[in-house]
Each structure stands twice: as structure tokens, then as C-alpha cells.
Symmetry: C2
Subunit: 567 residues, 2 copies
């Protein structure tokens, strides 16, 4: 590896122009950036056979103002009459038909969408963007759309990475996060919070953390759900797409946190019962979770909350000699019944290499120690995490898992890499624009696996990805259960065309499916995964989902066009 | 209270005659009994104003041979042709049409059924009892029944207490526990066991406990699910009716233990995916659980299993000054995030009084201590339980919960009452026959509540029950969650007629529903609770269940006649 210390690419540091395509596809806050550090930059050059010269001129940056071509500009489904009706329901200020709004709220955060927007070519746009203020607004809109057979797409935080938001049949997009982001109730006795579906992660967490100051509560709380998209995802989105947070090993996945949901569907409005458990037949809460806007609009949710005790957090970091040992250790941790850590992550050898660069471990004394102790680059695997909960439990879990790590050949790296990871835990997606600026694609796909199939899925998918020349494939497990874990694949490559990239992506999904992984651990289905759902679940089970779809939405107006293959 | 030490009723100690009604309604093993002890007997006399004389002559004991009256004897739905077809599918030995089998497998364990059987008047019986040997048998039977519109009822262990098994439209009853009780796979790496649905609780647990000897496994395991009906319930029944075990606070309810299920339905056969978590749309596993045979026949399940570490169990027992304090302590235990106990139970004042008699604490040195320390009879509330899991966790949980108990005014009773409870934990139902023999009815209804509604539901239901003269009402909470718990009401009374009793039962269910409790925490729905489902969930949500029912079972042959109000 050649260190070229003199040159650093001029990573974009300017906020994207207001009204531009880039302001839509850029991740996160307009003014925030995270660039590849020098070590990572050098790695990219090496892997892709690029030189500093290749990092001088950026590809199309998407700084142009959004301006729809005439074939997309015209209304696809709506009539002027419909628009008037929506205005009469919601007020003029809550019905947008300008090009920018139409594109912005029709887009999620997939690579495809980002690249299409760079090119000024969004594939599908809604005819109008509606910002409901209340559940009653949503009811009126859904009633109107049912009567007039107008497709309805729902936008929460906009962080979907599977074309979940794509309005492939035009119609309207309902934006939940504009107005419908209020706290409805904090219930300290039950340890629950009821919020409108559009409340964004950080607002929710801040309310809970500062409950004594903001809500005169007796205690501070936490929501326990911190996906990488935390800052730009909504509580409703977590539930509708079956998300999972980085602390799920302790707090549970989104589905484990839901006590009750309220939906507006073409077949009526209802709120599910909010008991901690109930044996009154198939639980409607369970039937609705993960329906991704295909059954109706999630308007509010009651979530479990937890006591906020960050002072009890204990960080740990280990390096294992190899992937097998890292997996064995985390399996034992997951099955040992001594309590579970909150964050737990293991990286395979290729990701470990990159992670040590990213977390600033490469070149430090820790790095030296690893080498001295024989933890070989290209084989060694990083494990980071922290424990939470009551003080004694948190300490106990750390003590026990340390023992297991050592028994599996692990060496402590102290809590340092975890601190570094925590610092940037929500920021890695910012690097995508930098890479895209120089024609490098970074993307992810993920799956869940049982322990006895983990190695097979990992090998099989990696084999497919690595068969392609000059392609990085980093894998980690970050959500642990006694019965298995997830595999999260991050791949980086250069592609000659969108079609070449799509073919590659298709190949990975097919490998996941064929090797026996789930089609998604926590990204959801969307229109990207939809086409594989029937082969994954089988006809009998897809037919169950279709029966529900027909019940809720006989006119097929809710998120039509591919989601869950229900058309 | 007058202690009459001389007289003891001649509680039935004989096995019921083979072929008799009593052999059907008697709880549990024919040769096992548990009788009210002297203290309980005296209490009964006192409460009901009875004397020893009232315990000399038993009411109708149901010792007669089962012999159906002619109007029930004749086939209601099946033709001779149908019977021939079933015999050709299953073999002659697996198709029974004798009176005894028809009555036995048409009966669950409700009070109504027990009393009807005592009188020799079963309300509904199937035309034939079928014992499928394999999934393929079940498929053939369901295909045949679909074609010929023959109602199908499913019998697992037969412990339903809500008329769940009642074949109210005749047809056939499929008995799963005769042949379909095999282990399919023990997977130690994933910590799962796949079994046919008819495997009974003790067989399952024994296989897991003795896995090294019986299956050459590396470890011993436990299923973690121990309902009071454990010995006479099937694994499939736990899942189909959303059961909960006495250790659920630690291990979870049945629904939390299910990884995958296989169903034979009129709409096809399928096995749900068996990932520890998946985000592929509404989870079919969740849709099927709790369907109580209304969608199809559950043929096998993959369950989470746990390491068997009984040596780490730590027992505890506390007496609290009153119900408020007992509830506050258990809420803090449930929300404290220091780990959860396995068994946790609190009894209200009336149940505490009875429990201290039953567990043999009354009259001991512990009893004296309670009195000395001012724990007043009629106010004091008992708390028992034990912790499990890895040794250090188990100790930590006990230490922390002890602190909380003391902070809430609790005094330790040592693990003694828990040991006594453990000893008889599955045996209390045996006492029902003794009480029924002397015309006393004992029955239960249960609900789940959020913490902030616990006291209201408890008061409201108790008020209704206690309004009736000479009626015992004992209540406990035995399944804890951070968001709430359950309330389990046990009532004892004398009734002039079945109708009077039914009216009383109806009144309790209506009080539970009106006061905001769930219609069931873990007994399921059955034909007893079915009529209240729509008022409980609302029309929109019942319509969802009906849509699923129509999909799976368009001819309405699966458990028709009231379950979930789907008719």
C-alpha cells in the first residue's frame, strides 16, 4: 500500500444548492459530511487501481435545480379536480405539486435512486405531496383516494434503502413527518410512549432523555432503538418496515418494542389493543407490523420505553484470531443466559481491516500489540460493543462475555474501538456521496441466518461478490439472538453502467435467497426485494399476504407496484 | 373458624371406572389426586355455611359408563361412506366411532363440560375421532373434509378451559397426541427443537433434560414453558392457543418461543421461515399463532430451547403489608433492568389467606413472625418465585429483587413457600373433582392488564364476584412484563343451576371487558370467549381475522361454531 500523504481529494464540503437534486440524495443534514480518511482513500486507490488523478474531477454532482422532464411533469393520475379536493381537505400549504417536492418525497436512499437523481432522471414521481396534520386528515384523504382509485404512498423519514417509497404508479405521497410528529402520551407507570408515526428518531429520544425537564416526568427514558438511519428515520417507519437498532441484542428489534398501533386503511380505522400480552386469537399488532404502507397508513404507535442509564454503559473490544472464533464467541454470548450486551458487532477479516482504519486503530499501540500477539491481518476479526441496563447487570454481562472472548482466543482492545465507533455510528452513510462523486459505488444488502447456516451464507455471498474483480466485500453481524444473527454485507465497486450494477445486486439477492438466508433482516422488502418474496416464502404464504391486502385495500391503492409482490 | 379435626370427607381416592364419564372429566392421571387439606376444608364449611354433614353424600359422580343418548349417537354430519374413506386413509385402528372416544375427544376441561359429563349429558360430540399418523395423513383428511364440507376439530392435550375443543357442528375430531408426538430435530447449534404438534409437555421436557442420554447431545436443555396444565397439554396447543407458562417472566410466553410452524390448511400446506428475526413483511409465524385450529391444523413447531441449569435456581418468598405494596414491588422488579426472575407470583389478600393454608405456612413459625411484625391477615399479600439462568445472573436478580421487596415493606419468608408451591404446582386442578363432588364449583377467568389499569380491573372484577353472597374470590398476578401483568381470578361458590353459574361467568367476562382488561392473557378464546371478541377488538379488527379465515377456510370447516366469532 502506497501512502500518498500529499494529495487529498477535494471532498465536497459545500451544502448542496437549495432546490438541487443533490440536496435530495445527499445523506443526512445538508451541512454535515464525513469523508474517507487517508488510510481508506489509499485503500480505494489500491483496490480499484486508481491514482490521485482519478480523484480530481468529479462525475455529475447533481447540483442542478430539480426540473422534471415534460413526460414526468404532467400529472399521471390526478386531475385538477383531485388537487382542489386535497386542498380543501388539507389547506393549500399542505398540498405541494412543485417539481422539487414531488421528487424529494418520491425518493428514498437506495444507490439506484441516488444515481438516478445525479443524472436528473428520477424514475417515478408522485403527482402531489400531501402533508396531513391529523389522523382525521389521513382518514379524509384515504376515503377520497379509495373513491377515486388514487395510489397512496407514505413517506416517514425517507431513509428506505429498498425502493420502499417509490411511487411506481403515481398518485400521492403522504408525508407523515411534517405535522404528525407529536407525542400523544408518555406513560411512566406502563413505561410506554405513544407518538404520531412521523416523529423522527432524535426528537423521540430527546423527549425521552429529557422527560423530567420537558414533560415533568419522574425519570429519564430511552427508546432503545438506534438504527444507523436513526437521525433520519421515523418511529412509524421503524415499525412499518420491521427495523432493528444497533442495540437490538439487548432492547429487541422494532417489532419487540411495539405495544399498539393505529391505522387508517381503506377498510377502516382502528387501534390495536395495548396489552403487554394477550391471547385473544392472532394478534392484530403482529399482522400489521411490516406491512410497509400496503395495508394502510400507520398514524400512531405506542412503544415500550426503557430507563435511561447511560452511566452504566460498559464498552468492550476484542480481536479474534479468525472469523470462526469470533462467531463461536458471540454464539456463546447469545446463548449463555447471563444477560445480553446492548451493542455487539463482529466484523469479518475484510471488514476488520477497513474498520481498524476507520476507527483509527491502525498504526496505534493496539495495532502493534495485535501484530506482536500474532493476530494476522487478513484473518483477524474485530468485535466491539457495550453493555447496558442496571449497573450490576451491565458489569456482570461484560465480565462474563470477556471470559468467553478470552476462551475463544480473543484479546482485549479496551473500549477504544467502541468509543470510536459510537462517535461515528450514524455518520458512515455520509461517505457515500464522496465515493459516488468519483464514480465508486458503495451499497449494502443484509440477511438473517440461523447459527448453523451462518458460515454457508457468508461464504456463498462473499464468493459471489469477490468473483467480481476489484470489489470490496465487508461483512459484519450486528444483531444477535440465541438462535442466530444477521449478516450485513457492504460492497464497494466501480460499474460501467446502472444495468451492470443492477445485475450485480440481483446476483447477491439471489445468492442470499439460494443459500438460505432471509431476504431481509431489518431493511424490509420494498420494491427492490419484492420480486423474490414468492420464491422465498412460497406461494401458500404469499397468498396469505395477498388475502390481507385484498381485505384492507381491495382497490389496490396502498403502495401499489411491487412491494411484497402484491399487485 | 371452627376446626373439626375428627371428620374428613371421604374424598374420592379410586380411579374412575374405565369407560366412565368421570374418567373423562377427571383432571390429570387416573390414579393421582390432591385433596383439600383440613384448613381449606374448614374454610369451605365456614364460607358456605356447610357442616360435616354436607360432606357425607356426594352429588352425581359420573361413574356411569359413557352411553350417548340416541339423539347424539346417530351421525350428525358424516355418512358411512365418509367413515369408509377415513378408514382407507388412516387404517381401521385410527378411526373411532364408539361413544366413549367420541365424548372423550369432544371434551375439554371447563367447569361446564365437567358438570355436563357428570350428568351424562355432553352437549356436542364429533361423529368420529381420527388419529392421524403423519402430516400426509392430515393433508389427506383435510382435503377430503374440504371436498365434503365436513367440520374438523383438533385435539392436542385436551386441557382447553374455554370450550376450545367443543365440536359444535359435529364432524370429526383429529387427535394429534396419539401418533404425532415425535421429535423431528434437536438442533444444538441453533438451540431449537422441532417436534410434531401432539408431543406432550412432559415428554418434550424429558427429551430435552435428558438430551445427552437420549439424543447424544452435548448439553441438557429445557423448554422453559410450564403452564399449570403442563402435564396434560401439547406443544402444539401451547402455540395454537397462545399459552403462557409459570416461568414466562423469564422465558417468555409461548408466542415468544416459536421459531417456525407447519400448517395443513384447506388452502394448502406450508412451513413458515425459521429465522431468529426477519423483515420480510408481516411475519406469517405471527399471523398463524393463536389461530386455535380455525385456519388449519398445526402439524409441527420449531421452538427455542434453553440450557437446563436447575442448580442455579434461587427461591424467594416475601410477605407484603398490602396489595398496593406487592404490586409496586413487582412493577419495579419488572422495570428495573437487572434481569428478570423466572417464576414471580403475588397473591391478593384473599388468595394469600388460602395460599398460606395450602402451602402449609399457616400455623408455622413463619406465620407467627408475620403476625408479630404486623402483617395483618386480610391485608397482607404473599409473593413467591425463583430466579434462573446462569449462576451469577440468577444470584444478581435475587439480590436486586430482595432489595426492592424490602424497600416496599416486604419481609422475607425464605424460599419455603416457593418450595411448597413448586411441589404442587401442577396439582391444584385435581381438587376440582373433590369440590364438585360436594356441589361446590371452582373456576377461573384471567386477563392481562397494563400497570396503570391493574387496580381498576382487580377492584371491578372482585366487586362483581364478591357482590354474590358466599363466594370466594382469589386473585394473583403470575406473568410479568415491563408494561404490565396478568390478573388470574379463582372463584369458588355454590350454584343452584348451570344457568345460574353461566350467568355469573358471563358477568365476570363482561366486567373484565368493560374495565379494560384483555379477554384472555393465556387461556385463549375458545367458544366461551368468542362472543365477546367483536366488542373487545372492534369490527374493523374482527374483520381482519374473518378475512384470514375466509382465505384459509372458505368452506368454514376448521373449528366452526363460535371460536373467534368467525362463523
Amino acid at each position: 500500500m502506497i501512502f500518498s500523504k500529499k494529495f487529498e481529494p477535494s471532498w465536497t464540503e459545500n451544502q448542496p444548492p437549495k432546490g438541487s437534486y443533490r440536496s435530495i440524495f445527499k445523506w443526512g443534514a445538508p451541512e454535515r459530511f464525513k469523508h474517507p480518511n487517508a488510510r481508506l482513500y489509499n485503500m480505494l486507490k489500491e483496490v480499484f487501481g486508481m491514482t490521485d488523478n482519478d480523484f480530481v474531477k468529479k462525475v455529475k454532482e447533481g447540483n442542478e435545480q430539480v426540473c422534471l422532464p415534460s413526460d414526468k411533469k404532467s400529472l399521471r393520475v390526478l386531475t385538477e379536480e383531485d388537487l382542489k379536493s386535497f386542498i380543501s381537505i388539507l389547506g393549500k400549504e399542505n398540498v405541494e405539486t412543485d417539481d422539487f417536492s414531488r421528487v424529494k418525497f418520491s425518493s428514498g436512499k437506495t444507490v439506484e435512486e441516488a444515481l438516478e437523481l445525479r443524472d436528473g432522471c428520477p424514475v417515478d414521481v408522485s403527482d402531489a405531496v400531501l402533508h396531513p396534520r391529523t389522523k382525521e386528515d389521513v382518514q379524509k384523504v384515504i376515503t377520497y383516494c379509495s373513491e377515486h382509485k388514487i395510489p397512496v404512498y407514505v413517506f416517514g423519514g425517507g431513509s428506505s434503502v429498498n425502493l420502499g417509497l417509490r411511487p411506481s404508479r403515481g398518485g400521492i405521497t403522504l408525508v407523515m413527518s411534517t405535522h404528525m410528529k407529536r407525542l400523544i402520551e408518555l406513560n411512566e407507570e406502563n413505561q410506554t410512549a405513544t407518538v404520531e408515526a412521523g416523529m423522527m428518531g432524535p426528537d423521540f429520544e430527546k423527549l425521552l432523555n429529557k422527560a423530567p425537564e420537558k414533560l415533568s416526568a419522574r425519570r429519564r427514558y430511552t427508546c432503545g432503538h438506534f438504527p444507523q438511519s436513526f437521525e433520519y428515520s421515523s418511529v412509524g417507519g421503524w415499525v412499518a418496515a420491521l427495523g432493528s437498532g444497533q442495540s437490538s441484542t439487548y432492547y429487541g428489534d422494532a417489532c419487540d418494542l411495539v405495544i399498539s398501533q393505529e391505522y387508517v386503511t381503506p377498510a377502516g380505522t382502528f387501534k390495536t389493543v395495548d396489552y403487554p400480552a394477550t391471547a385473544t386469537g392472532p394478534n392484530i399488532n403482529w399482522i400489521m407490523m411490516g406491512s410497509e404502507g400496503c395495508f394502510g397508513v400507520l398514524t400512531s404507535v405506542t412503544m415500550k420505553i426503557f430507563r435511561h442509564m447511560p452511566e452504566n454503559r460498559k464498552r468492550f473490544g476484542y480481536i479474534f484470531p479468525d472469523w470462526d472464533k469470533a462467531v463461536s464467541a458471540t454464539r456463546e454470548i447469545s446463548q449463555g443466559e447471563f444477560g445480553l450486551p446492548s451493542v455487539l458487532r463482529i466484523s469479518d477479516a475484510e471488514e476488520t481491516d477497513v474498520a481498524l482504519k476507520l476507527y483509527g486503530v491502525e498504526g496505534t499501540v493496539l495495532d502493534k500489540m495485535m501484530e506482536l500477539k500474532g493476530f494476522e491481518k487478513g484473518r483477524r476479526c474485530l468485535c466491539i460493543g457495550h453493555t447496558e441496563g442496571e449497573k450490576g447487570l451491565s458489569s456482570h454481562v461484560k465480565r462474563k462475555l470477556s471470559k468467553i472472548a478470552r476462551a475463544n482466543g480473543g484479546m482485549t482492545l479496551t473500549g477504544y474501538p467502541t468509543s470510536k465507533w459510537e462517535h461515528g455510528r450514524f455518520n458512515d452513510p455520509y461517505m457515500r456521496e464522496d465515493l459516488n462523486d468519483y464514480d465508486i459505488i458503495i451499497d449494502t444488502l443484509e440477511t438473517s441466518v440461523k447459527w448453523d447456516n451462518l458460515h454457508h451464507v457468508h461464504k456463498s455471498v462473499r464468493e459471489f461478490i469477490k468473483k467480481r474483480p476489484a470489489t470490496v466485500c465487508m461483512t459484519h453481524c450486528s444483531h444477535f439472538y440465541p438462535q442466530g444473527t444477521n449478516l450485513y454485507f457492504i460492497f464497494i465497486g466501480r460499474f460501467s453502467s446502472m444495468q451492470e450494477y443492477k445485475n450485480f445486486q440481483t446476483g447477491i439477492i439471489e445468492r442470499i435467497n439460494a443459500s438460505g438466508g432471509s431476504l431481509s433482516h431489518h431493511h424490509g422488502v420494498g420494491k427492490m426485494i419484492g420480486p423474490w418474496m414468492e420464491s422465498h416464502l412460497g406461494k401458500e404464504q404469499i397468498d396469505i399476504l395477498k388475502a390481507l391486502k385484498r381485505h384492507f385495500d381491495p382497490e389496490n391503492i396502498m403502495n401499489p407496484g411491487g412491494q411484497m409482490s402484491i399487485t
